[in-house]
Amino acid sequence: MTLLEGLTPVAPTGLFPLAWLMIAIPLVSAGLLLVLGKVANSFGHYVATLAPIASFVVAVALFADLLGRPEAQRAVSVPLYTWIKTGSWTIDVGLLIDPLSILFALLVTGVGSLIHVYSIGYMAHDPGRRRFFAYLNLFIAAMLVLVLSNNYAVLFVGWEGVGLASYLLISFWQHKPTAATAGKKAFVVNRVGDLGMTMAIFTMLAMFGSSSFEAVNAGASKMSPFWVTLLGLLLLLGACGKSAQVPLQSWLLDAMEGPTPVSALIHAATMVTAGVYLVVRSHAVYAETSAAALAVAIVGTVTLLAGAWIGTSKDDIKKVLAGSTMSQIGYMMLAAGIGPVAYPFAIFHLLTHGFFKANMFLGAGSVMHGMNDDVNMRHYGGLSKVMPITYYTFLMGYLAIIGTPFFSGFYSKDSIIESAYEQQPVLGALALIAAGITAFYMTRLMFMTFWSRKRWQEGVHPHESPAVMWVPLVLLAIPSVVAGMVMNAWIGSWLAPAVNGEVPPNATWLPHITVIGVITLAVVILGVVVAWLVFGRTSIPESVPYTRNVFTIAGRHDLYGDAFNEAVFMRPGEALTRGIVAVDTGVVDGAVRGSGALTVGLGGGLRKLQNGYVRSYGLTMVVGVIVVGLALVIGRLV
């Protein structure tokens, strides 16, 4: 095992100067769709679907180029222009295409393209279809800015761009109050994370005079322990907001109010994993501070347990998947927190999760499409017969996520659990338990949706979705199965130089049998069996059964995350604002109104003098003259 030095970016050659096209194409497409208006209603979605496909082609070309290069030249820096030049600071806009960012670009554009195609079918009858596709393109462009930029300031532009797209798409059906509220909630919670991000960027600018990855990587080792830990924690706060990690997890479950393709693309496959990208990208910072790295690992572990817990008790199919997303991102954060050994695994799991979770979300969308947009799994059942393609593709995702040997999730998740167990035995053990819970809630989902007896509501006639929807499902199911085998031997050595990671020893496409691996498999089987005992043998009630089980009740209430936020932040915040309002009306407004009232009163008193009687004016003059005269006389005397 060798610890490799980070890559030094080389100048762009060949196709690389054109890398900005990846971002520009979807951005232009989004702009066109929004500007053209109704004219584009008939063809807008085709334009919007071609845009990420074009970006994907560019990404594949660049990827092929990188593959052909020697290892030391696999990071290419593409300077574009100078954004801010003030005083001693210069912020350049530039792209960094290295083994890490190109994988993200491929995931975003590849899965993004499939989801665009799927959306053509899913949103076919929606009056806002053009707007929807414009926002999706905007998201793709912003996400590519996020992963391709070569400094934190530009990364933050993309970071906010995906936040905006996420907000717009969660509350896409804004006529539903729940959707509008969910969008706002995501926006507000993300602001908390953004506070961490901005403070981190300020810290970098203050410490290094630059926010570029190069400067930060070079300078991190020279920082004082306090500042480097603070920087690590601030970045973690940013990552928590975007990746829905505890304690900023509450927005993700509500984000399921958005259309299902959005949940698949933004809230499962790509945007929510940006936090993991951020942590891995900031590897130089976390290498200097074991405290912050441990915090990352703990946050990841807490989240992976919380997400799995929530997943076990929800009846809304999308919320189960959302809990599962939280949980899987928790695994990635755990890996990112463990350190160089596990960085490649974090990205590996991110990629496989991108495939199988997007696959399952789109499958859930297909199921909802057939069930008149009902999301309650208690109204499903027996769908494996009527929706065979959806069923089999979903099954692939299911087998992948629970970690069935030879499926993609098996390789990535087991690697994480193993390395976690080696570095932090407690966290590793918790991650292992969560693997069992994952198997339990996913099996529950399968029973409730596809396997048990029919519990369809009146007037619901499930049917298979059109080809435009199931073809992307099939295309996503394939990597859900094989991505692990294909990438297992390769990804470690590919990523290690870029993230300063360690090359894992002799990984092959064959599962690496270890004690931990066997125990994990046993725990997973246990989870499946328990789920079968609870949900497979007995029939599933159509209404939510009463329970005294505190775990279930807590899970149904999202572990009281909202109640906690309400009690700790919202109520005191409300009290504070009420206090400020009282001070404002009492003191500030009081002073203003008081001086006004005083002037009015004075004027009211004085105007009485204007009584309209000539003689009173005359008398006033006489008195005045007498006073002036007396004053003169007295002045003369004195």
Binding site: Q610, N611, G612, Y613, V614, R615, V622
Partner: protein, 99 residues
């Protein structure tokens, strides 16, 4: 002659003018009171002109007379107009310019 008598006479005339101005209602009478006060001033100006032995005071009194004549023209025409409009020359009725 002792100039004190003239000063006292002017003071008396002025006081009558003030009191007339303050207590009477008829606009014409008020006008006459104002003229009385002006003439009291003229009397003083002429008297002190004599005392000092120059003509400054007399010049000033001519100014006062000319201005008073002009003022009478304007003032009387206003009073006539008010009388035509309201059939009264009482100043107590002309109280529109009040709060």
């Amino acid at each position: 002659m002792n100039p004190n008598y003239y000063v006292i006479l002017a003071g008396v005339l002025f006081a009558i003018g003030i009191v007339g101005f303050l207590v009477r209602k008829n606009a014409l009478v008020l006008f006459m009171s104002v003229e009385l006060m002006l003439n009291a001033c003229n009397l003083l100006l002429v008297s002190f002109s004599r005392v000092h032995g120059n003509l400054d005071g007399q010049v000033a009194s001519f100014f006062v007379m000319v201005v008073a004549a002009a003022e009478v023209v304007v003032g009387l025409s206003i009073i006539v107009m008010i009388y035509r409009a309201r059939h009264s020359a009482s100043v107590d009725n002309e109280n529109l310019l009040r709060y």
